[in-house]
């Protein structure tokens, strides 16, 4: 027992270490900015309006994303069809698109000059006009519906297939299955998913502004940006960042309070087969859901791809080293994400039954990074590092590190439920066999969390590939990454080449995501 205790302490230490690091990165950088400013200054009417708008659009976006994701995930979970794997991967693409690429893709389909608008006009209707609150929500759903779908899908796949078989044996219909199996799962997954998307939308800025139609759509992040560059008022920036943290804290606490622990029982990891939903109605519903979702998400992507293909010949040679740099950053970021997320998730999963507050606190640390303003993290790191080292030399490592931290919430959302399940269901057996340390991790834990880990690593890789927030502050002009190149192309009138770069970026991000995600699922599917 002594060894077991030591083992727990050591891995818990790594978990606390990861949590402390995240707190330092998000709250510490804020502290550095506030320190440089010499305090915090007050908020004015415009700031309050920005806070109101931020909360309203984030709530609407999160509600809609989650509400739409549930039927999509259910359809994906209970249907097997040719191309399903490809669809699941492609549906993940919007989440990793750079903002400007996504906006131009969305406008190609839903904009005033889009095919739909042209058709509407020729039929005597007015052109589509998505600018305003609806445009902001549309774009945020476009970005986040895929993430929500993936998190719910993982929830569904975590229900052991034996349960569905038992349900079928008991003659349960779809409604019974929903009540006994699916709803308890949703109760566990939904609050965290909702909170994650809410937080992502809170820190949104360029999307909200561009599709929001004007300064009515000012978010807190834009106000922070203004404080930095228009007013150079660091104290205002720090205060606004603190407000952003406050909102996050509320969302995180609510999510944690609302999460209902569920016991699902143990299974043998067999693939799921369903007998309850083969009726014409259910099949039609699922087919319709998947078709509409695919159209909504994939049409803008297709527009990006089409424009990109035309622009590929215009790409300069310097795109190659930029792409290689981005891949290096992405791989490093994926590695860092796993080495931060695994110990933290393990610690949280092991703490929870006895000390829920501590587990909540640790999980909160994992959320901190998406609550943090990217602008404040970047500036804080800049202020802290500038006296010590040339920021340009740290551009790529810092990008990898910050993006690893930004990917952590998603990694935790995927890993914690999987780890809890493993510990609860197989932990006692492993204990009784005296399995511990690396052997326990390798034989018991890893095979069961591989899909979640692959997803987390893939997401981290793809997200850091498209990062422009941190790299813009630390940028080394001679070592541009792919997204930086893309923006430079656009800034130099090279729109065609920029479209080509966008396609390359999306392609590489998806390939990395697919590689990790697939790598995680290959064993799981067998």
């Amino acid at each position: 027992m002594v060894n077991r205790a030591q083992q727990i302490t050591r891995s818990a230490l790594a978990g606390y270490g990861a949590a402390g690091f995240l707190a330092a990165l998000s709250l510490g950088t804020l502290g550095v900015v506030a320190l440089k400013a010499g305090g915090l200054s007050g908020l004015n009417g415009g700031d309050l309006a920005a806070i109101r708008f931020t909360v309203a659009q984030a709530l609407a976006s999160a509600i809609l994303s989650v509400a739409l994701a549930i039927p999509v995930a259910r359809a994906l979970a209970r249907r097997q069809f040719r191309g399903r794997g490809l669809l699941v991967t492609l549906l993940g693409a919007p989440f990793i698109l750079p903002v400007i690429v996504a906006v131009l893709g969305l406008l190609a389909v839903y904009g005033r000059a889009s095919v739909i608008s042209e058709a509407l006009q020729s039929l005597g209707f007015t052109r589509l006009d998505i600018y305003g609150f609806s445009g902001v929500v549309l774009a945020h759903v476009f970005f986040n519906l895929p993430l929500a779908t993936r998190l719910f899908l993982q929830g569904w796949q975590a229900i052991p297939s034996e349960h569905f078989r038992l349900a079928a044996g008991l003659g349960m219909n779809s409604r019974d299955i929903s009540r006994h199996l699916e709803r308890p799962m949703l109760g566990r997954v939904l609050p965290g998913t909702f909170a994650t998307i809410f937080l992502l939308c809170v820190t949104s800025f360029a999307v909200a502004l561009t599709l929001g139609g004007g300064p009515r759509a000012t978010t807190i992040e834009l106000a922070i940006y203004q404080a930095f560059r228009f007013d150079f008022d660091l104290s205002k920036a720090a205060l606004l960042a603190l407000v952003q943290f406050g909102l996050t804290a509320i969302a995180a606490v609510l999510a944690w309070r609302l999460t209902r622990p569920a016991r699902l029982g143990t299974g043998f990891d067999q693939p799921v087969k369903r007998w309850d939903c083969n009726g014409v109605g259910a099949v039609t519903l699922d087919a319709l859901t998947l078709t509409l979702t695919a159209l909504f998400l994939l049409l803008p992507l297709a527009a990006v791809a089409l424009k990109g293909l035309a622009g590929l010949p215009d790409l300069p040679f310097s795109i190659l080293p930029a792409a290689l740099r981005s891949i290096a950053v992405a791989l490093t970021s994926a590695l860092l994400t796993l080495s931060l997320a695994l110990p933290l998730a393990q610690t949280i999963a092991r703490t929870s039954p006895h000390r829920p507050r501590l587990a909540g606190l640790l999980e909160g640390a994992g959320y901190l990074s998406i609550a943090a303003s990217p602008m404040v993290i970047g500036t804080g790191l800049f202020i802290a590092l500038f006296p010590l080292v040339d920021p340009a030399r740290l551009a790529l490592p810092i990008t990898a590190l910050v993006n690893a931290a930004l990917s952590l919430p998603f990694a935790l959302r995927a890993l914690i439920p999987a780890l809890r399940e493993v510990e609860r269901e197989y932990g006692p057996l492993a204990d009784s066999l005296g399995m511990r340390g690396l052997a326990r991790f390798r034989l018991m834990t890893w095979p069961r969390i591989r899909p979640a880990a692959g997803f987390a690593a893939g997401l981290a890789a793809a997200l850091s590939m498209g990062d422009l927030g941190v790299i813009a502050l630390f940028a080394d002009p001679d070592a541009a990454t792919l997204p930086l190149m893309l923006y430079r192309l656009m800034g130099s009138y090279q729109m065609e080449a920029a479209n080509g770069a966008a396609l390359l970026l999306v392609g590489l991000s998806l390939a990395l995501f697919w590689g990790f995600d697939r790598g995680g699922r290959v064993r799981a599917a067998s």
């Binding site: 406008l107 005033r112 502004l209 009515r216 834009l222 300069p316 490093t332 790529l396 430079r488 192309l489």
Partner: protein
């Protein structure tokens, strides 16, 4: 766990090694598009290094406003010797930091539409803000702000946010300079025609090229880009009777520079033919100097100097908060 070690190794590899240097280094901070492969940066670096026996190193930071913010963060410890890329809406703030040193230089004969006597900053190029449109799609082109305001409801323009973009701030100044106290009224008239406001120039111009709006806020020189680089003569700038607000881009030497002589030499070079002739077809702005071979096709300034609008740096700083409030009020209704 081997992964953190491996990660640390990778990070080291990514950081790279600093190259050995014997030549003096001139550090120039500028905005991002200046150093891009299509910007003036590469040609400027090559031309100056041929004559200076030095190593010119650029550091890029977003745009003009981001550049100033970066300098303020770094303070006197900045390694920058020269900052290139501020404009006259920013120079009063920049001067207040006390980080810049006088250039002690008189301007030669030049083609700036206004007289230049700033002791800290020297101009290297300039342009007029203007709305750009597609000649094949727009028949009735507005020739002043009031006509734009009274256009049909579905006539849309895209502008940039003054809080995050230099052209966006330029439009604020343009309307303030042309209409003074009537500015809020003009903004209220424009509000229904503003399709959206973007973070920066690239987003707005990209959306315009995608056909989302009738006009976009850009420069009178934008059509020259399409004409020269793409042989496309369908873009034009709408010329407004009120006159056009100027953007004058400037550079300054830092007081704390450890290469003050080299910095002076660069400023000298900046005003020479070698630098100035690079500007038109890379930065797509009017050069400050008078070029030997004249300006490229499509580059004749379409506005007589008498119609050039510009606040002095001090006035620009004094009016900008009021102008921003008026803008926010008019567009938030």
């Amino acid at each position: 766990m081997k992964t953190p070690l491996l990660a640390a190794g990778l990070m080291l590899a990514l950081t790279g090694m600093a190259p050995a240097q014997d030549k003096p280094i001139l550090n120039i901070y500028t905005y991002d598009s200046f150093v891009s492969d299509w910007g003036p940066g590469p040609a400027v670096e090559k031309a100056f290094e041929e004559i200076c026996a030095c190593d010119l190193q650029f550091t890029a930071a977003g745009d003009g406003a981001a550049l100033l913010a970066r300098l303020q963060l770094e303070g006197a410890r900045s390694k920058a010797d020269v900052v290139l890329g501020l404009d006259t809406n920013l120079t009063a703030r920049a001067a207040k930091t006390g980080l810049f040193a006088p250039h002690n230089r008189a301007m030669d004969e030049n083609n700036l539409p206004v007289k230049w006597d700033d002791p800290l900053f020297l101009p290297y190029d300039w342009g007029y803000f203007a709305f750009v449109y597609d000649t094949t799609k727009l028949a009735r082109v507005p020739y002043n702000f009031e006509m734009l305001a009274s256009a049909p409801d579905d006539f849309k323009i895209i502008i940039q946010d003054p809080r995050s973009s230099t052209p966006g701030l330029g439009l604020l100044m343009w309307i303030k300079a042309a209409y003074g106290d009537r500015a809020p009224e003009i903004w209220a008239g424009l509000a229904p025609h503003i399709l959206t406001v973007t973070k920066g120039w690239s987003e707005a111009y990209g959306m315009f090229l995608a056909g989302e709006a009738n006009m976009v806020l850009s420069y009178t020189t934008s059509p020259a880009y399409h004409l020269i680089a793409e042989q496309d003569d369908t873009k034009a700038a709408a010329i407004f009777e009120e006159g056009h607000y100027l953007q004058i881009e400037v550079a300054g030497k830092l007081a704390a520079s450890d290469q003050p002589a080299l910095a002076d030499r660069f400023l000298e070079f900046m005003l020479s033919e070698a630098f100035q002739s690079i500007i038109p077809t890379t930065n797509w702005m009017y050069p400050v100097g008078i070029l030997k071979d004249g300006l490229p096709e499509g580059f004749e300034p379409p506005v007589p100097p008498a119609k050039a609008l510009l606040f002095s740096p001090e006035d620009a700083l004094a009016v900008r908060n009021e102008a921003l409030d008026e803008w926010l009020t008019a567009l938030s209704k």
